[in-house]
Amino acid sequence: MIVTIIRKELNMLFTSPLAWILLALIQLILTWAFLGRLDAFLEIQAQLLQIENPPGVTETIISPVFAMAAIVFLMVTPLLSMRLLAEERRNHTLTLLMSAPISMADIIMGKFLGLMIFFAMIIALIVALCMSLLLGGAIDFGLLLSNTLGLLLVAACFSALGLYISSLTAQPVIAAIGALGVLLGLWVIDLAAGETNQWLHFISLLKHFERFNQGLIDTLSIAYFILFMTTFLILTIHRLDGERLHG
């Protein structure tokens, strides 16, 4: 049953121009950043060779591109997640799903996984972009893997949060602004915390992503991501169930 929902979500996503525009824009921005880094790397390559144990091409080009991708995802997720439930509610199509023989968890997971497949496509494109460096030399696959994993987890967290906020309202625009506000808040917390409030760093999603970005697959960060994601998915299911109970 989840597959039915996933198919429908992807179908709806790709019949609207939004998905295509976002795919093109994200690719444009990241390729630009990629080329910029590549240019810089080629310029300082000679100097790098003189230092002992110099940073490789993966560290100087791929890591910054993934860091940029995380920020871009932060901006883009609200646009993609806003319509998931808010629009169903506004068009009164939620009734169709709720009167069908399908559990609430299936509906929510279907929508979530549909969005994740879209993100996986974008990430695959970024990985392909990085692979193009193989034409000129070797890259550090370990670092690439940790970055890919980190980006996927961060996207999952953003999506779960976006989905929850979309379940709170019948106005997609409000869902988008709400999700963007919360995600920006989680980012800014990290910048504002400084060195003194260490525990604030712990809340920041992007701080956890930074570890993956440096090539460190940290179980604490993985646990945090999974906890964050599950919490918001369960809250969403709860919210829709509550609607059935309280009217």
Partner: protein, 238 residues
Amino acid sequence: MTTTTISTQNLCRNYGSHTAVRDINLQLQRGEVLGLLGPNGAGKTTTMRMLTGNLAPSAGSIEICGVDLLDKPQEAKARLGFLPEIPPLYQDMTVDEFLLFAARLHRISKPKIHTALGDVKQRCGLEDRGRYLIGTLSKGFQQRVGIAQAIIHDPDVIILDEPTVGLDPNQMREIRKLIRELGVSSSVILSTHILSEVESICDRVQIMHKGSVVFDQTMAELQRQGTSLEMVFTQLTQ
């Protein structure tokens, strides 16, 4: 063969301290068409939303073909078809896409899905509209797609909330004919404000007022007594 398809016991629903629906006891046999009448705000829509699992009752129980809707919602919902007051349509989908989605949602197995689609389109007069976007269809056709969505899986109980609102007289007649046909093999509950509609297609009529059923009789009995539905309606609800 007369079998009970839907039965409710003391169904109640409160919104805060306000009681929207109280003590609904409903028994419906296969092949029966029940008309649900009542002034606006009488609790018809609330009752229908409870019967279809969109709203949890505050008290009471609902059984669809012997399956408890609250205990085994998925099993019970598979036997239900529901057309809400505002048809739940995705404007960006074509009629075929939407109906196939509804069919998959209602667990029609893959080999049967295309026959089911062809069947339902033929019944609802949508044969040549398969490739149209739902958003571009007229109100009458959208209503038909809504009905098609509710009956594509051949449910035992079909619940229609004001199915003929906004249709022109010809379309109304066609939809009524369709409901009559549906009522042969399934049970149909429909709510409406049009008394003549009930007289022409229903086997039984219930009138709701302020959350309770105040009148419950078969049409045949009503005709035998020679009382008009309109008189009963005004007497009971004013």
